[in-house]
């Protein structure tokens, strides 16, 4: 079991990208690579070798679930926990995300001071 250090964050909105990056780096002490699209994430995922992937659901072009599917062909997502960030959190929607292979769902809007803790909790559940 490795330590949680490197997080790949995929989010098309630059503001939220920035907030999440600060939240995870400054508060959580992680190393974050932010990608603005699913395609960029696919290009970077092997080189960055993340311990954890945080995916926005609604993105133009390639959405979160599609990105997750394609990332799965490049790296072992069974080993790397993936969490979706979304505002759509009806129980059936959450169940749907889990069926796609996500290990957790983070509700938007998120509390930036708690984001790192939430990520760590999902990671611990996955590895614990």
């Amino acid at each position: 079991m490795t330590e949680l250090k490197r997080i790949l964050h995929v989010e098309d909105d630059p503001s939220i990208q920035a907030v999440a990056k600060v939240a995870l780096e400054a508060v959580g002490g992680f190393q974050v690579l932010s990608c603005a699209s699913g395609q960029e994430a696919l290009d970077q995922v092997q080189g960055f070798a993340p311990d954890f992937i945080l995916l926005d659901v609604m993105m133009p072009g390639m959405d979160g679930p599609k990105t997750l599917e394609l990332i799965g062909q490049l790296v072992d997502t069974a080993r790397i926990p993936v969490a979706f960030m979304t505002a759509k959190v009806q129980p059936d929607e959450v169940a749907h995300y889990h069926s796609l292979g996500a290990h957790g769902v983070i509700i938007k809007p998120f509390d930036p001071m708690q984001l790192a803790a939430q990520v760590r909790q999902i990671w611990n559940q996955r590895n614990g």
Binding site: D13, I16, A18, V19, K108, P109, M113
Partner: protein, 1387 residues
């Protein structure tokens, strides 16, 4: 008497117990015997062991001694040196050898001899190499052999250099042999040169041992071992030595143990003596496990010990037997004692039961005496002289019943409560018993001081769940025995019985009172009562019932349901029984009818019968029924009178065709214009009502003249319509002559009576004018007078009686001509209204049935002719013939019967008859109130009466010049002619039709024509008789209805909503244009089809429900093409012509829905788009304020926290908006599950307390019990969070918000109560609307989105609940919601 099972049980207990005891003691005794035996064995073993040990110790001592001896000799260095020398000598050097041997002998012999004194032994010196014997000290001459040296012991000692000793067996002897090596010290250490061996005989010690042990000793040798044979033969034992002779005998008798048993012992009896034999193996065999070579047998006389042992054993048995007997005896004593005490207890219980049984069997006595008798029995039972039942009322104690030996107490005596012991018993929950008052805690009691009652037992009496008094027994003697549980139980049961008796008494009293009251009520209300056993028919009536019918009840006895039937009007029986069947079937709650009953004097009484079935038998058949009879004849008569009067007035108005009645509103506009007015003035009412004022009908010159006249008389100008009303405004009427102007310009002189119409408050609401055509009146009056005098003259000259009788039950005469006097001898006045007698009373009784035949003819509207006898006043019979006919009105109802009766006992009957009929016809013809005519077959009018001329506006002459074809409306002519053809052809005998004539002015006149054909004696048609009734009014009314219908239909067709009417089964009846447009069906396509064709979700059985709910529902419609669309439906139910109809108003809301959806989607999209930037803003601010990016300057921090708080509020607003949108669009998922509510409330309070803390408000839950509901827990939490945060937000600091749970039938309600400012009344209606907050200023102050309550409402309604609030401004508010309770049985 049955056999008492108890003795058998006791016998079995005795047998079983004894058996158990015997077994128990046998077991213990056996154990003790065993122990005794074991002890004996142990003792024997110990003794044997001791003997063996002694033997072994002797043997051991010998071995030690032998070894010591050998070693001591071997330690002699000189001996060793000599042996060394000997060993190095050559074998043939006998000389040196002998020298050495001599030296050795010299050295050893003295010592050997010395030692022989103590113990004889043999001493050998052996050489090292072959263990050859160098010297036998005890036998010096024998040497040089190796026989002895072959022994393994010696060889071992030589080889190992150690000294050894062992038991040795040789030559029928057993001994100990020991060997010790001879060592010399050399330069290389010690060297072994030979060995010394010593042999001792053991047997020499036996006699000594015998003495020491006090036991015989014998040595047995294994013969096999002895001779060195192998053990393939059975070992044969030989007795080698014995100290006492018995051993030899026993061996021969084979009594000894087998030596192969090893160490063992046994008891041997020989010659009355007992010996303990013990055997010890001498294990000298080199092979372990092989039989021993020798055994030593010891025996000892233990006879004494054995005798003691035997005696002990016997004693033991005796002791245990004694113990068993003792236990048996104890058991018997115990059983007997228990049985005796049980019997005593049972006797006591039996006597209590007996007393109670006696008490309960006292039912034949009156209540009080029963109680007294019971008290007496109780006193006997307790053996206490005084028994008392007392009632307690507040502070008083009243003796109800008592028994006492003297007159110490009396019934009804009253005491202050605290002076009685009963006050103590009354206060107790159970029995209070005192055996000796003087030593009880109550000895200070006032009652003791007063009555000195020493013993007391009492308890409270309960009636109807309340304590009402006490039951007590007491005695002046102290009681030497305590009250036992039986007595207490007796008293408890007794008190219960007394309670029940009192209760029964009270109930009986109450029932008696009720019965008396009811009886008096029934008497007072003058109601007859009846009780009917439906099955047996037995019926009981009260006196009043009989009185009502003019009888005394006893006259009607025996009464049954037949009595009732007898008096009941035959026509009322059948409907009455029908109603009864419906009542029995449970369709109606009461049997309630008005029927006619015949009074004793023959008249019919109207009776209101009311009853109800009160019980049924086991098969469910009706059994008992009770009811009342009320005489309502008077009421019924009044009712009939009112109905008659109303009908009369109606008829007057309907028939007032000769009088013009015109009503106006206060301004003169005509509101009523009757047919008389139409006829008089020539206008149709339609043209006049609401269009004209009466001025139009008057000569202007007359109005002007009258106006002038009135202006002068009252001093102010009067003009126009006022001239008619000026003098009637004060309520008086005015009658004047005026000239009316007919529409055609003609003038009529009329008498006009005007009146003002006032409403209840005295306001004038209009005016009424009644005008009569004076000239016509005068003419009519003249005509009537002429007609009457002509009629009277005619009748007077008739040779018979003319009569008219009314259609009532008695055919009472309204007119009888004077001729009746000569025909019957009675004056006509006798018969008018049956004043003195009825006509039927003078008909000959035998001929009465003949007169009934007339009824049939009347019913067929035919003329009847009868011949019968009358009884003349002077007694003789008169044969008469009667001819008559019923007069029917337009509706075919019989009004009168007119007829003629003449004497046929005289001659010329035929002539009279003919004359009579002609005259009759002509008179009736002329005066008939309807048009009548004789019409020729070709249609010419042969004869017409005045009424017909009046109707058609022609004079008689003009009429006779016309034919009916000329004045018949062309559209009706064909039908009329066809009818006449049918008449002529004989297909019909008469016909009736509605047709139109054209009057002289060319106006259409609707009439009802009844026409019949008259044929002559040869059957040839002669002419037609026609009756013509004017019913233009009716036709006009019908036309108005049709027009109104057309108007309404037009109206319906022009509304945009579809309007569909349905019959009571949901079939479509009407379908307006809008409906055709919406559903794309035409009216004809859908008429008669089920409404489900249009609205599939609408089943016909839900129609009524749909109306009842009285609200607009949204449903789905189905167009002709199959397209489904949303619609709004409002149902209402009407009753039309006694039938239920439904009206569905349907609106197509597809477009509206589409717009709503667009709006919702827009809100959703906008909110969603807003949320992303807001997430970033709130997130950034959160990071800064959270200190993730380092400390923020103080001044900035405040601003930033404001910014964050507001971004969160905006976020909450958008969340609420999205929630709202989801709820409205039905997209919000509800996971309804069955949950206990209380834990959810507790959790909500826990979660919201932190927020409340910010406002310094405490949340409290009050819920005693829990209930289950079906909810989505998250959504419920959302609602509770909203209500709780609102309550906290609006509460003053330090206040408490109370949450309570209450159950209301199948619902439960959660209340959240705050003590805030409350909700302004003006805001009540909007509180659950979106974006509403009571005070806009407050919004900013208190926060909140204004959507919270709207969301709560939606959520609660989605969970099938209801939300609301109660508030008084200034006193806080209570918000509540209700949820349906989950049924316990539901799974």
């Amino acid at each position: 008497m049955t056999t008492n099972p108890r003795p058998i049980a006791i016998r079995w207990i005795v047998i079983g117990g004894s058996l158990c005891l015997a077994l128990f003691f046998a077991f213990l005794g056996r154990q003790a015997l065993h122990e005794r035996e074991a002890l004996w064995q142990l003792q024997m073993n110990k003794q044997a062991e001791a003997q063996r040990l002694a033997l072994q110790s002797v043997q051991h001592g010998l071995r030690e001694r032998a070894q010591l001896l050998a070693e001591a000799i071997a330690a002699d260095a000189w001996v060793a040196e000599l042996v060394r020398q000997a060993s190095v000598l050559p074998m043939d050097d006998q000389g040196d050898l002998t020298r050495i041997r001599n030296q050795l002998y010299t050295r050893l012999a003295p010592r050997w001899r010395n030692m022989q004194v103590h113990r004889p032994f043999r001493l050998y010196v052996h050489l090292q190499d072959d263990a050859r014997i160098l010297l036998r000290v005890h036998e010096p001459q024998r040497f040089g052999d190796t026989q002895e040296a072959m022994r393994p012991l010696l060889l071992q000692a030589l080889r190992t250099g150690d000294s050894r000793a062992e038991l040795n067996l040789a030559n029928n002897s057993i001994g100990i042999r020991a060997a010790a090596p001879l060592l010399i010290n050399t330069q290389n250490g010690q060297r072994q040169v030979g060995a010394i061996s010593v042999a001792m005989d053991m047997l020499e010690d036996l006699p000594q041992l015998d003495r020491d042990l006090g036991a015989g000793i014998a040595l047995l040798l294994n013969a096999a071992a002895d001779v060195g044979k192998q053990a393939d033969h059975a070992p044969a034992w030989r007795l080698i030595q014995q100290t006492r002779p018995q051993a030899q005998i026993w061996l021969q008798a084979n009594l000894l143990p087998s030596p192969s048993e090893g160490n063992s012992q046994r008891l041997l009896e020989d010659g009355g003596q007992h010996y303990l034999l013990s055997q010890l193996s001498m294990a000298t065999s080199p092979q372990p496990g092989a039989p021993a070579m020798a055994t030593v047998l010891t025996w000892r006389d233990v006879s004494e010990l054995y005798a003691v042992h035997e005696r002990d054993k016997r004693w033991l048995v005796v002791k245990w037997l004694l113990a068993w007997c003792g236990a048996e005896a104890l058991l018997m004593i115990l059983l007997r004692a228990t049985r005796r005490s049980t019997q005593r207890l049972m006797q006591r219980q039996q006597s209590a039961l007996h007393a109670l049984n006696e008490i309960s069997a006292l039912s034949s006595l009156s209540g009080k005496e029963q109680l007294r008798e019971a008290l007496r029995m109780g006193a006997n039972y307790f053996d206490m002289p005084l028994g008392v039942i007392g009632m307690i009322d507040a502070d008083h104690y009243r003796v109800l019943v008592q028994v006492c030996p003297d007159t110490q107490l009396e019934d009804g005596q009253t005491f202050a409560l605290n002076e009685t012991y009963c006050s103590l018993a009354y206060a107790q929950d159970d029995i209070l018993s005192i055996e000796r008052m003087a030593s009880s805690p109550y000895r200070e009691h006032a009652c003791y001081a007063r009555f000195a009652l020493e013993s007391y037992i009492g308890t409270a009496i309960w009636v109807d769940g309340r304590r009402v008094g006490t039951l007590a027994f007491c005695d002046q003697q102290a009681r030497d025995r305590q009250f036992d549980e039986n007595e207490r139980e007796f008293l408890r049961l007794f008190a219960r019985w007394v309670g029940a008796t009192l209760e029964r008494e009270q109930q009986q009293q109450a029932r008696q009172n009720l019965l008396e009251r009811l009886a008096s009520i029934i008497e007072g209300t003058d109601v007859g009562t009846w009780e009917w056993n439906v099955q047996s028919g037995a019926t009981v009536f009260n006196e009043r019932w009989a009185q009502m019918l003019g009888y005394r009840l006893e006259e009607l006895q025996p009464t049954s349901v037949e009595t009732w039937k007898h008096f009941c009007h035959p026509d009322d029986r059948e409907p009455s029984e029908r109603m009864l069947r419906r009542h029995f079937a449970g369709e109606i709650a009461f049997y309630d009818r008005q029927i006619r009953m015949q009074h004793r004097d023959g008249r019919w009484l109207w009776v209101q019968v009311r009853g109800r079935l009160s019980s049924r038998d086991e098969q469910g058949r009706p059994l008992l029924m009770y009811g009342t009879h009320t005489d309502i004849s008077a009421a019924r008569q009044r009712e009939d009178a009112v109905i008659e009067a109303r009908a009369f007035l109606q008829t007057v108005l309907d028939s007032a065709s000769g009088v013009a009645i015109i009503a106006t509103d206060p301004n003169g506009l005509v509101t009523l214009f009757n047919s008389g007015a139409e006829r008089l003035l020539g206008y149709s009412s339609d043209a006049v009502i609401g269009q004209m004022t009466p001025e139009r009908f008057h000569l202007p010159s007359e109005i002007d003249a009258r106006a002038q006249q009135l202006s002068i008389s009252c001093g102010h100008p009067v003009s126009g319509f006022q001239v008619f009303t000026h003098n009637v405004r004060n309520g008086e009427s005015e009658t004047r002559q005026w000239t009316y102007l007919h529409k055609d310009g003609g003038q009529r002189l009329v008498n006009l009576t005007t009146n003002a119409i006032f409403d209840a408050s005295g306001q004038i609401t209009g005016f009424l004018g009644i005008a009569s055509d004076i000239s016509a009146l005068q003419q009519a009056t003249r005509a009537l007078q002429q007609s009457e005098s002509r009629f009277r003259g005619l009748v007077a000259n008739l040779p018979g009686v003319v009569y008219r009788c009314a259609n009532d039950s008695d055919w009472s005469m309204r007119y009888v001509s004077d001729e009746i006097l000569s025909l019957t001898g009675y004056p006509p006045s006798d018969f008018i209204d049956n004043r003195v007698r009825s006509f039927s009373s003078i008909v000959h009784p035998d001929d009465l049935p003949i007169t009934y035949l007339a009824n049939d003819s009347i019913a067929r509207q035919e003329t009847f002719e009868l011949t019968y006898r009358l009884r003349h006043a002077d007694g003789h019979s008169v044969w008469v013939r009667e001819k008559g006919r019923g007069e029917h009105d337009a509706q075919g109802r019989l009004v009168w019967v007119d007829g003629f009766i003449w004497d046929i006992s005289e001659r010329k009957v035929m002539e009279d008859d003919l004359r009579l009929s002609q005259q009759l016809f002509s008179s009736a013809f002329a005066t008939a109130p309807q048009g009548m005519a004789l019409v020729a077959i070709d249609g010419r009018w042969l004869e017409v009466n005045d009424e017909l001329c009046r109707m058609l506006g022609y004079s008689r002459e003009e009429m006779l010049a016309l034919d009916f074809q000329r004045i018949t409306h062309p559209d009706d002519l064909g039908a009329d002619l066809r009818n006449i053809d049918d008449l002529l052809a004989g297909r019909i005998s008469a016909y009736q039709m509605e047709k139109r004539y054209l009057d002289k002015q060319g106006q259409v006149l609707w009439v009802l024509l009844s026409s019949a054909l008259v044929r002559n004696a040869q059957g040839q048609p002669v002419h037609l008789v026609a009756q013509i009734q004017d019913f233009s009014d009716r036709v006009a009314a019908e036309r108005a209805i049709r027009e109104r219908e057309h108007y309404l239909r037009t109206l319906l067709d022009n509304v945009i909503d579809a309007i569909v009417t349905l019959d009571d089964e949901g079939h479509i009846e009407n379908f307006n244009h809008a409906a055709e447009r919406i559903f794309a069906y035409s009216q004809t396509e859908v008429a008669g089809r089920d409404i489900a064709t249009l609205i599939p979700g609408m089943a016909s059985d839900t129609l009524r429900h749909g109306c009842a709910s009285d609200q607009i529902r949204e449903m789905e419609g189905l167009r002709l093409g199959g397209e489904r669309f949303p619609l709004e439906l409002a149902m209402s139910q009407i009753s039309h012509q006694g039938q239920v109809r439904f009206i569905a108003v349907i609106r197509d809301i597809a477009e509206r829905k589409r717009i709503e959806q667009m709006k919702n989607e827009f809100v959703s999209t906008v909110s969603h788009e807003l949320r992303t930037p807001l997430t970033a803003i709130a997130g950034s601010l959160g990071l800064i304020n959270g200190g993730a990016l380092g400390a923020v300057p103080q001044a900035m921090a405040h601003m930033l926290s404001i910014a964050e708080a507001n971004s969160q509020r905006l976020s909450a607003l958008i969340n609420d908006l999205l929630d709202m949108e989801k709820l409205v669009a039905g997209k919000m998922h509800f996971d309804l599950q069955r949950r206990p509510l209380k834990p959810l409330l507790e959790l909500a309070l826990l979660h919201n307390q932190p927020y409340a803390d910010q406002h310094q408000v405490r949340l409290e839950l009050h819920a005693e019990h829990d209930v289950e509901v079906r909810v989505d827990t998250q959504r419920l939490a959302q609602v509770l969070a909203n209500l709780l945060s609102n309550a906290a937000k609006f509460s003053p600091a330090g206040a408490v918000v109370q949450v309570s749970l209450e159950t209301m039938g199948d619902k439960l309600r959660v209340n959240v109560r705050d003590h805030g400012p409350g909700i302004p009344a003006a805001f009540h209606s909007r509180i659950f609307a979106k974006f509403s907050q009571a005070d806009a200023g407050d919004t900013r102050q208190k926060g909140g989105t204004g959507l919270g309550l709207a969301i709560c409402k939606e959520i609660i309604e989605r969970m099938h609940g209801r939300i609301g609030f109660n508030s008084v401004p200034g006193q806080g508010a209570t918000f509540w919601f209700e949820l349906p309770r989950v049924d316990e049985s539901e799974t």
